[in-house]
Amino acid sequence: MFMLEKDFPILNRKINGHRLVYLDNASTAQKPESVIKAMDSFYRQHNANIHRGIHTLSQEATKLYEDTRDKVQKFIGAKHREEIIFTSSATEAINLVVWTWGHDHVKRGDEILLTEVEHHSNLVPWQILAKKKNAKLKFIPVSLTTYNLQLTALRQLITKKTKLVAVNHVSNVLGTINPVEKIIRAAHRVGAKVLIDGAQAGGHVPVNVQKLDCDFYVLSGHKMYGPTGVGVLYGKKELLNEMPPYRSGGHMIKKVNLNSATWAELPHKFEAGTGNISGVIGLEAAVDFLNSPNPSLAKRGTPSLLQREGRGELLKYESNLTAYALKQMLKISGLKIYGPQNTKDRIGVISFNLKNVPPHDLASILDSRGVAIRTGHHCAMPLHQKLGIESTARISLAIYNTKEDIDAFIAGLKYAQRLLSPPRPPAWTSPKRSRAGEGEMKEGVNLP
């Protein structure tokens, strides 16, 4: 057996009398025991502020915190450890770039290039900046047939006026892995900088920022099995060095006089105040987990392969599970998938709609059977407008999900279809109008 419940304690939960089937991992992933333990043991054994004291606890806390920086540096292949900045979320990491680099470099008439498939986190801050600076936002379109970005438009879209390109690595709605390498190359040809929003990529696709050659890369700790309240900004050292501080106060300074101050070196310049120390320490455990998952999870792949390839094997496991989910979903009549129907260049984030069953009601029915999915616009309203729908239902897979989870979800879909599809045509004649009393449901309802 896999002993998943031991690795991820929350999987022991019963939801409405059923085994929890958690398929909302793109919102936030569940936490392995090792992450919970790391944070718990920090507070029990090592709690102190970092970089401040010379006492033992402070030294221990600082080491744990700074160890995470090394781990994250390796995890995304950054050249220097000080290129890793801890933030409170992916959202804050993006805002940091918008309000430092963006504020300094984007001028009237400049262009910022985004895509039609951005999460509001990588759209709204740029909107505010563009408005303030009288700059122009442009968007790489998405194809409604392949759901891929239409890169043929890049030539016209990237111009000498383009100052910055900000693109998601993996779409949180379509599940597509975007061809960010090509976009980065095209942007650099005109001297534009590139920010990659990797909130959905972290832990699901391999990331190497040096190979990508992106200027900024953003991670969300809580989506990669880490705690909430911690995100990562990677930035090329030379850029981070020339950027002004984002938040100021304690810890980010070198010397302070009554009327002026100078800034600390990287990464401290961008980590003002007391940060989320326990969260960062939890993130270290999450990265460790992703690098060498527990033996119990390893059993789900081929053990020898796992020893050889480690993380790669788990990603393969996820990809196979995605293929299984897509196959089972496509068998359901009236189900439309918004995103590629094969596993090429996509991860297990699958948005869909079911004919006659609105997403929210589907989610309620599934919840009554212990299956957790997400519904709504997933913080991507413009993409939904383009798709011509208000909302979608979405499942998103993680390494603890199993075929049994998919089967439970599919059974729930079928049940919801049976339960909620249209009744026989009603007895009353005009479908447009019915007077009180004519409906079959009035009896017995007596409101005060």
Binding site: H360, S364, P422, P423, A436, M441, V445
Partner: protein, 118 residues
């Protein structure tokens, strides 16, 4: 608490009553639920404090559409003041199920539009 579904909800969602516009309305307002994208617009024809006619254009989940449908049907001919006093429990009664906390905003969206309109 999980959300249950009644035949009333199903019936009113798939065949919403009073769906459409009123040409001679005296009051109208829209309400939306950014959480799930529900949208409703109510048209009221109010005379001497009575709701003479009511119609709505509602797009969204079953709970939201069915609520607009049952409330419209119930409200016609009643005093506006009385309808404005309706709450979640009344909608639950009209729908024949209790409403889970996660779905409260869906169930009360149409009432919100009526409050806004009048």
């Amino acid at each position: 608490m999980t959300q249950s579904y009644s035949s009333i909800i199903k019936n009113h969602y798939h065949h919403p009553r009073d769906s459409g516009k009123l040409s001679d309305y005296t009051h109208t307002a829209e309400a939306l639920n950014p959480l799930c994208g529900d949208e409703t617009k109510v048209y009221l024809k109010i005379r001497k404090g009575l709701i003479e006619e009511i119609a709505h254009e509602t797009r969204g989940c079953m709970i939201c559409v069915a609520s607009a449908s049952v409330v419209s049907e119930y409200a016609r001919g009643k005093a506006l003041a009385a309808i404005k006093k309706l709450g979640l429990q009344d909608i639950a009664k009209l729908l024949g199920v209790s409403i889970s906390s996660a779905r409260t905003s869906c169930a009360t969206l149409f009432l919100e539009a009526i409050w806004k309109a009048s």
